[in-house]
Amino acid sequence: MATEILMPALSPTMEEGTLAKWLVKEGDTVSSGDIMAEIETDKATMEFEAVDEGIVGKILIAEGTEGVKVNTPIAVLVEDGEDASALPAAAPAAEAAAEASPAAAPAPAAAPAAPVVDLSPDWPADAEMKSETVREALRDAMAEEMRSDEDVYLMGEEVAEYQGAYKISQGLLDEFGSKRVIDTPITEHGFAGIAVGSAFGGLKPIVEFMTFNFAMQAIDQIINSAAKTLYMSGGQMGCPIVFRGPNGAAARVAAQHSQDYAAWYMQVPGLKVVMPYSAADAKGLLKSAIRDPNPVVFLENEILYGRSFEVPQVDDLAIPLGKARIWREGSDVTIVSFGIGMQYALEAADKLAEEGISAEVIDLRTIRPMDTGAIINSVMKTNRLVTVEEGWPQGSVGSYISSVVMQEAFDYLDAPVINCTGKDVPMPYAANLEKLALITTDEVIAAVKQVTYR
């Protein structure tokens, strides 16, 4: 039976090419792998190999022909004894295979008039409260989850024998042993990859980065391996892992140790991104992050580690990811923040109250998935919005929030949204300059006055 040989596509973008040279002639016998012709693409001259065995019955396109469309028959192979002369002349160009019909894009979700927001309390109102530091809360969250699930383990630099560079893992080696609390060499790229691989293999790793600045060495494994594999595998292979550690500026540690990565990780579908402020949230969200079947980037803050908050003493404080918390209700302006930004937001709200301005303060807690409903609901009430974060302005979390509010609550805004951010500079070392580079409470107050026209 005669087989048509078609003009091949020899690059991802090739639509036509030049049949530069035939290396076989009519009557030649070819077998799989023999080079039949040279074809010039837009990028290079390529050798074209035979796939099937047979005899070259007819050459349909002469060498030197330019602009031969992909899938045009260029020759015909026949079997031994078959009469080539009876073959038709050049057949019309075969129809391009798999003509992609433009897929109808899903209609954009209609702007919610009033989003449904989960306002349920995170713990019973009558729970006994106790003052704990963020450090203790994080350690307790890990210890509780390690007690209840043998597959959870902690890996990182100085997490075991040193008891944690910032003492977050204090006592864990004693309780769980060196099989589950593992000191790594200083090799972020490598151990992040090993941890992701172990998650593919059925474990639930917690990876501590001494700081998130060093996670840049590992960001390929976080994004390309951890975040994308579920999608690339058609849902077969997930990656239950938590990457955690301090993020953002500490004090006087200069440019390479002072970056806020919330906006970087926020962009990645497949990742969840958490950035708690209080000790109760640190505990409840870390427990949920460890249980989550997806990769979670959990951004802590060194300055907050030693700060004490009231933590409910309940058996299992697991706070759902993706749910904002209204710290303070108000009517004149909405201030949205997360992580250490909350410190400035809350201080500003206190001072504004003294001046008779009532601010509603929302702690996002989870940056992705983001509880935009909580923000929009609040803006529909206050009609004014200020966002507060420590990171840089261009492509900030606040700029994303601004675009969402513009699209979904434009008619409710009485003033342009202001994003209070860190300054657009690498972090300086000098004490006075560092102070200037960071966001301040005064800047938040000034922004609120601007949007409330005071």
């Binding site: 796939v51 099989k179 690339m232 849902g235």
Partner: protein
């Protein structure tokens, strides 16, 4: 392929030889068909063919036990076929169809199978090396006796994360076989132009990881070396390196004209060291099979590949809803 320090060939039965012949031929015919479908525009993007390297995966799969894991780079079709993944599912993934192993969302470079313990299919050169050590970490943690085959090329061998991984794998005695598929070219760069030492496995010595060179055009030599490496890992002695000298006949990807080597060089390997011809000769000269027996196998393989190709064309494109699924578990 000159091979030094290759493990001695074992005795081998006719059935075993026929199995290797069949499995290697399946990979070759599958890849030729993939190349053809690419030429027809049915397969898009990047497509890296495994032709010439068939003995590597077939030999190592023969040394694996049920439950052992494998992970590799983007030149992955051969590995998937060798561990028993469905040719139709692989081909339909290449054509980006619903019936593909990743529902058409991964493509040539990204396929996975929990059932066959195949962990991808990774597109970032070298990234699969720590991932493979991580799979071995999980096996050791769970004390299940499993071994992970972590494949990478001579090009990936220059990535820093490979040596970060060697260090931890040796430090923690992880049951991982590092398989360096040395096909001598990192895309268009010959090994001598990219790599400071003529042999790569020797780099393991710095970490205390034993290793050896294997003739990757000889499936029996690969299998024997694989058995030795696996036994080492399973005995709790930590990782092992196999530097398997092999050769790819086609370009790096479909759009590579391969001008960095001569046609004669490729032709010489094809004529003198082809791994399938090698087994074919063993079968015929040892009177284990007749020409007709082998023709029957050829026909059977051709049928499997044609069916896979048909399936890959007939399977519909994924539904548009699939755009939004599998982002979160």
């Amino acid at each position: 392929m000159a091979a030094r320090k290759t493990t001695k060939k074992p005795n081998v039965s006719a059935e075993e030889l026929k199995t290797y012949y069949r499995e290697m031929l399946l990979i070759r015919r599958f890849e030729e068909k993939a190349g053809q479908l690419y030429g027809m525009g049915l397969i898009g993007g990047f497509c890296h063919l495994y032709i010439g390297q068939e003995a590597v995966v077939v030999g190592l799969e023969a040394a694996a036990q049920e439950g052992d894991k494998r992970i590799t780079s983007y030149r992955d079709h051969g590995h998937m076929l060798a561990c028993g993944m469905d040719p139709g599912g692989v081909m339909a993934e290449l054509t980006g169809r619903e019936g593909g192993l990743s529902k058409g969302k991964g493509g040539s470079m990204h396929m996975f199978s929990k059932e066959k313990h195949f962990y991808g299919g990774h597109g970032i050169v070298g990234a699969q090396v720590p991932l493979g050590a991580g799979l071995a970490f999980a096996d050791k943690y769970k004390e299940n006796g499993g071994v992970t085959f972590t494949y990478f090329g001579d090009g990936a061998a220059n990535q820093g994360q490979v040596y970060e991984t060697f260090n931890m794998a040796a430090l923690w005695d992880l049951p991982v076989v590092f398989v360096i598929e040395n096909n001598q070219y990192a895309m268009g760069t010959a090994q001598a132009r990219s790599t400071s030492s003529p042999d790569i496995y020797v780099r393991g010595e710095a970490f205390g990881i034993p290793g050896e060179i294997v003739n990757g055009m000889d499936v029996l030599a690969v299998k024997a070396a694989g058995e030795k490496a696996v036994a080492h890992c399973r005995a709790g002695k930590g990782p092992y390196i196999l530097e398997v000298k092999t050769y790819r006949y086609r370009g790096h990807s479909m759009s590579d004209p391969a001008k960095y080597r001569t046609r004669e060089e490729v032709q010489k390997v094809r004529e003198q060291s082809d791994p399938i011809e090698h087994v074919r000769e063993l079968l015929l000269s040892g009177k284990h099979a007749t020409e007709d027996d082998l023709k029957a196998i050829d026909k059977e393989i051709k049928e499997i590949v044609n069916q896979a190709a048909e399936f890959s064309k007939e399977s519909p494109e994924p539904s548009v809803e699939e755009l939004w699924t599998d982002i979160y578990a």
